[in-house]
């Protein structure tokens, strides 16, 4: 609006000057004749102003604005050339006016071409033009005071005709306000209390300007006085503008900081309001709440506006409030983060919290508040409690099972004892009386009768052995292990000697590796080894050159003891049945046996946490491998 009005006035003034309006007025010698170039420039710049003031994106308008402002620039250049080349009126005044107009035109062109991209350039140019404008104004004032209008070159420097100076002022002002939100002008716009301060500062600057001007006129300085005064006033105005800019910048920075603080405050509030923990801050001196989060409000039914003047005693039961206060004071004294387990009655019922509390320091580093973050651990506590209960229950159950197991072991003991006594006794009678029959009544029995009696006796013996083996099997299971390191070589040789003593009719080569030792229960291992060697002894019975070997070897990372024979062997297809009680791979007619021996061996080995397996081939012998859990493992 202002720009358009200023433009219209400038066009009108330019047209009037061009038409020689000034000639009419020049009669009293007040005004000098205006150079036509200056008048034309005023018209051109006046045309540019409304175009600049209306921001548009239409390419036609943009192009038009550029053409008009460039034309203004050309006209101004022409006017300056004419002024420098001499001609009408006050020469120095016209040069200054023309130069100012050229700067203004350049500013317009800059705004039009750069389209506000670099407004500082335009405003700097305008600032310079404004300075020159001031110089001409003062030049005019000095000249008027001296009554020396139009007496160039003796006139005051830069003195110009009033219409020209007015026209210049109009276009400078118009260009300046054409785009008020851009560049320096935008940065000068301030609001709030700072703007009042700025107005006061500018008033002081204005007063100073008037004082300087008055003093200069009163002193009646020489022809350079207008220039010096103009420059002085321009500097004061420049200083005022700079001050305004600085203040505005400060004001903006402060506003930004306030905004940022508000944003970060709201972020923090959001953060603490959207957590499942309850968060609170209390003053140390009187215990009053400073801050609580939404979860706290929900749990304890007090809104944050209400809680600000309350202490724990206003929220919780006295006993709990005392305890909380004690904890808070402890944290303040400790000066560091402390963790408490606190129980409080809340909207969710009686809950247990783990509270992390830490002191909040003021700018002097002194704690003034205690902040707490309390997390509900009730569920966890209950889970722990449940785990504890389940454990106790489990232990109880294990104890019960153990007791049951012990009871059943005792029953097994009793059973084994009963077998030992009750089954063997009748067998003894059978054998004894059949023997008595044979001896006492042998003469009345024929050979068949005697044969029947011996068959009876053989079977009784066999059953006796089976019962003994069963007892051994049961013993291998029940007996508590008494482990020690013992000499296996000696044990094997000893058993071998027993075997050959019991069967003097046979000659079996037994070779035992030296220095074999094992860690285990010697009694049980002897039972196992006895069975293995007795087996080997028995199954080599039909061998031409029977041989048994006991040694140590490595297989698949296992350290193993082996018992090898070159006897009847067996089909590996049935190897899995080998170690089960009453499973036999040979008929009784071929080889006597109860089918329990290897079951005893396997049980002994397994009770020692060991490993047992066999390799064999029918007719080519068998090898039994075993080991026991080492002393280090046991």
């Amino acid at each position: 609006m202002v720009a358009t009005a200023a433009g219209a006035l400038a066009i009108a003034l330019g047209a009037a000057l061009l038409a020689g309006w000034d000639v009419l007025l020049s009669a009293p010698g007040m005004l000098s004749r205006t150079q036509p170039g200056i008048a034309a420039t005023l018209i051109a710049l006046g045309l540019g102003l409304p175009l600049l003031a209306t921001a548009t994106t239409s390419p036609g308008r943009v192009a038009l604005t550029r053409v008009v402002t460039l034309a203004g620039l050309l006209t101004a250049a022409l006017a300056l050339t004419l002024a420098v080349g001499g001609g009408h009126g006050s020469r120095s005044g016209q040069i200054v006016i023309a130069a100012s107009l050229l700067l203004t035109a350049a500013a317009q062109a800059a705004v039009a071409v750069l389209d506000g991209q670099a407004p500082t350039v335009a405003h700097s140019l305008l600032g310079a033009a404004a300075c020159l404008c001031l110089v001409t104004c003062f030049g005019y004032l000095f000249a008027a005071a001296d009554g020396r209008y139009g007496e160039d070159p003796v006139g005051a420097f830069g003195a110009a005709a009033l219409p020209e100076a007015a026209g210049l002022g109009l276009v400078v002002l118009g260009t300046l306000v054409a785009r008020p939100r851009e560049g320096m002008l935008g940065r000068l716009s301030v609001s709030g209390p700072e703007s009042r301060r700025l107005v006061r500062a500018l008033a002081v600057v204005l007063a100073g300007t008037l004082t300087v001007t008055g003093a200069a006129i009163w002193l009646g300085l020489d022809r350079f006085a207008p220039l010096l005064t103009g420059l002085g006033v321009a500097s004061l105005i420049g200083f005022g503008l700079y001050a305004a800019w600085a203040v505005a910048r400060m004001e903006r920075a402060r506003a930004d900081a306030r905004q940022e603080a508000a944003a970060s405050h709201s972020q923090l509030l959001k953060l603490i309001d959207n957590t499942k923990s309850n968060i609170y801050m209390k003053r140390i001196d009187n215990g009053q709440y400073i801050l609580v989060n939404r979860e706290w409000e929900r749990l304890f039914g007090v809104r944050r506006e209400e809680v600000i003047n309350l202490t724990d005693h206003g929220v919780f039961a006295p006993e709990l409030a005392d305890r909380l206060r004690t904890n808070d004071l402890d944290v303040a004294r400790a000066g560091t983060t402390v963790q408490y387990e606190e129980t409080a009655d809340s909207a969710d019922g009686l809950r247990t919290y783990i509270s992390v509390k830490f002191p909040v320091l003021d700018s002097n580093g002194e704690p003034y508040a205690v902040c707490g973050i309390s997390t509900d651990i009730t569920d966890r506590k209950q889970a722990e409690e449940q785990v504890r209960r389940l454990n106790t229950e489990l232990e109880k159950r294990v104890r019960e099972r153990t007791a049951e197991l012990e009871a059943s072991t005792r029953e097994l003991d009793a059973f084994a004892y009963s077998i030992s006594h009750d089954l063997r006794a009748p067998l003894r009678s059978l054998h004894g009386f059949s023997e008595a029959l044979l001896e006492d009544y042998g003469d009345v029995l024929d050979d068949t009768g005697k044969d029947y009696l011996s068959r009876l006796q053989r079977n009784v013996r066999r059953m006796g052995r089976m019962i003994d083996d069963l007892l051994n099997l049961s013993r291998a299971t029940r007996v508590e292990l008494a482990r020690e390191v013992f000499d296996l070589t000696a044990m094997a040789k000893d058993i071998g000697a027993d075997l050959s003593e019991a069967d003097p009719g046979r000659s079996v080569r037994l070779s035992v590796a030296d220095d074999l030792t094992l860690y285990g229960d010697p009694h049980l291992v002897r039972l196992a080894l006895q069975n293995l060697l007795a087996n080997a002894w028995k199954f080599t019975g039909r061998c031409a050159d029977p041989a048994i070997e006991v040694g140590r070897c490595q297989r698949g990372g296992e350290d193993l003891i082996f018992v090898r024979d070159n006897g009847a062997g067996f089909d590996m297809q049935y190897a899995d049945k080998l170690f089960n009680a009453f499973q036999r791979l040979h008929s009784t007619a071929d080889f006597e046996g109860t089918g329990i021996g290897l079951a005893i061996v396997a049980r002994v080995v397994r009770r020692h946490g060991g490993l047992i397996f066999a390799e064999a081939e029918p007719g080519r012998g068998a090898t039994f491998y075993f080991n026991l859990m080492s002393e280090r493992e046991a």
Binding site: S420, R428, G432, R461
Partner: protein, 147 residues
Amino acid sequence: MTSSQGRILLVDDSADDVALTLRALRKNHITNAVEIASDGEEALKCLFPEDRQQPLPALVLLDLNMPKIGGLEVLRRIRGDQRTRYLPVVVLTTSSEDQDIVRTYDLGGNSFVRKPVAFDEFLDAIRLLGCYWLLVNQVAQHRAAAG
């Protein structure tokens, strides 16, 4: 193998076993008088009669599993009395339970023999027992018995 010295007290509840033991003794020509008690109670009656003057047997063959009073209890009482404290007692039983063996020796039994199933082996056992306890072994003469 003859010894007219002293009686043998055979304590066994099984008539069959008694018969077989008697046969084994006879077969081994052990001719000592044999007194038979068919349970612990009877055994105690024989050992601790009203008539204290009756001499003690030279050897007790004691079964363990018996009705009323068991063999181990009988052994305990024998060792508990001054008169019978050093009386040779051989436990002759079917059991070979470790705990029975240990208990027997704990209570002061002199021997623990498990009756074999085969009669020939039983014969051997009886022969050795008779030979050792009735001929070889020297019995301590107790003061009470002497006095």
